[in-house]
Symmetry: none
Subunit: 132 residues, 4 copies
Amino acid sequence: MSVTLADAKRMIEAGEKKAAEIGQPMNIAVADAGGNIVAHVRMDGAWIGSIDISQKKAYTSRAFDITTKDLAEHSQSGNQFFGIHASNNGKIMIFAGGVPLKKEGQVVGAVGVSGGSGEQDHTVAEAAATAF
Amino acid sequence: MSVTLADAKRMIEAGEKKAAEIGQPMNIAVADAGGNIVAHVRMDGAWIGSIDISQKKAYTSRAFDITTKDLAEHSQSGNQFFGIHASNNGKIMIFAGGVPLKKEGQVVGAVGVSGGSGEQDHTVAEAAATAF
Amino acid sequence: MSVTLADAKRMIEAGEKKAAEIGQPMNIAVADAGGNIVAHVRMDGAWIGSIDISQKKAYTSRAFDITTKDLAEHSQSGNQFFGIHASNNGKIMIFAGGVPLKKEGQVVGAVGVSGGSGEQDHTVAEAAATAF
Amino acid sequence: MSVTLADAKRMIEAGEKKAAEIGQPMNIAVADAGGNIVAHVRMDGAWIGSIDISQKKAYTSRAFDITTKDLAEHSQSGNQFFGIHASNNGKIMIFAGGVPLKKEGQVVGAVGVSGGSGEQDHTVAEAAATAF
C-alpha cells in the first residue's frame, strides 16, 4: 500500500499540531495512490462544510498530481482548466488545501485540509505532508 | 437541541413580516447546529425554485459559520474559495440570504431566505435572525 | 394557488397535535398541486433522516395522486410498480406517511409525514389532511 | 459538541483492536449528533468501497436513532420501511454495521463500520460504541 494508516495518522497528528498553533480548527484528510481516503479527522469546532471539502481536496490533489493551490490558478475563468470542477461527479476542489505526497519522485497519495483561509489550509496541509 | 421548533417558528414569523413589508414573497428556512432543517415556509406566490435554495442557504451558512453574502465575495473567480459551490454534493449556495445564528458566541444554526434580490433575501434573513 | 401557506400551517398544526397525542415527534411537510413544498416542520427530537423523507412523501403522494401506503403495496418486489423508487431523481418514497389532498374531487396537493412507524406516520398524515 | 474528536479517536482505536482480533481490516467512522463525520479510518487492506459505506452507516444510524442491523429488518421487501434507502440523496445504508451512541438516554452520534460480513461489521461497531 502506498500510504499506510500509520502514515496517515502521523500526518494528521502533524496537521492538527500546526492547526492548533495557527489557532484555527481544521478538517484533515489523507488519500492513497488510488485517490481513496485512508483517514480523516474533524477537529473540535471545525466547519462541518469542510468535512467533504477536505476529503475531496485530497482526492483532487492525487487525481491531478498537483497542489489544489496551483490547480486553482489554472481553473479560474479564462484559464486552461476552467470548468474542471464540474468533472469527476463533484469530487474536484479547485482552491488551496490539497498537497500531493511523493515517494521517490512518484505521487503516492495526497493530503487535503479545509477549515480556514486558503493560506491557512495550505500551510496545515504542507505541515502534514512534511510528516510523510 | 440548539434551535427548537418554537425558535424556528418565531424567526420565520419575523421573516414573513419583513418580507410582507418589502412586498416580496419569500421562502424562509431555519437549520440547527448540525445543519439540518428545523422548519421551512414558502409564502404564497414565492418562487418554487427558491424552496431548495432557502434550505441550502441555511445549510451553507451553518456549514461555514458565515453569511452567504460574505461567502459570495470569497467565492468569485479569482478569490480564495472559488469552486466551493461544487462541494457538499450540491448543497452550497454562494449568494446572499444565509445568516448564521449565534448563542453565547457559538454558531448554533442558521437562517436561509430566497425569493427576491440578494439584498432583499439578506434583509429578510437578518430580520428572522434577530428574532432568535 | 392550490394550497396556501395558511392551509399548510393549519394542517401542520393538526399533525403536530396528533403526533403529540401519539407521543412520537414527527417531520410534517405539505406540497401543493405542483408537488412543490409549501411548508415543513421538524418537531423537537424527531429524526433528522426524516426531514428529507417527509418532504419526498408529500411529493410522491401528489406525483401519483395516491397515499404512499397504497403505493407501497404496488412497489414491493414482484408487484407492478417495483422499481418506481429509482425514478424522479430519488424523490419517490414508497412507504406509508404520504396522503393526497383533494378539493372537489381533484388532487391539489399532499401531506408527507415521517418520524415513527409506518402506521404512526400515516395516522398523523391523515390528521393533517383532515384539517384541509 | 456531542462527540469530541478525542471521543471519536478512542472509539476508533477500540474498533481497530476488535477488527484485528477478528482478523478482518475495516473502515470505521464516527458521526456526531448532527450526523456529520468526526473521524474516519481505513485499516490497511480494507475495502475501498467501504470508505463511503462506513461514513454513511454512521449517518444513517444517527439519522434514525437505530442500529442499521435493525433498520435492515424493517427495510426488506414487504416491510414497513422498504424503499428508505432511496431517501436522503443516497446516504442511507440498510445493512448491519451502524450503531447509535447514547448519552443520558439521548442519541448524540453514531459509529459506522464496513469491511467484512454484516455480523463482523456490527461486532466491531459495538466494540467501538462501548468505548464511548
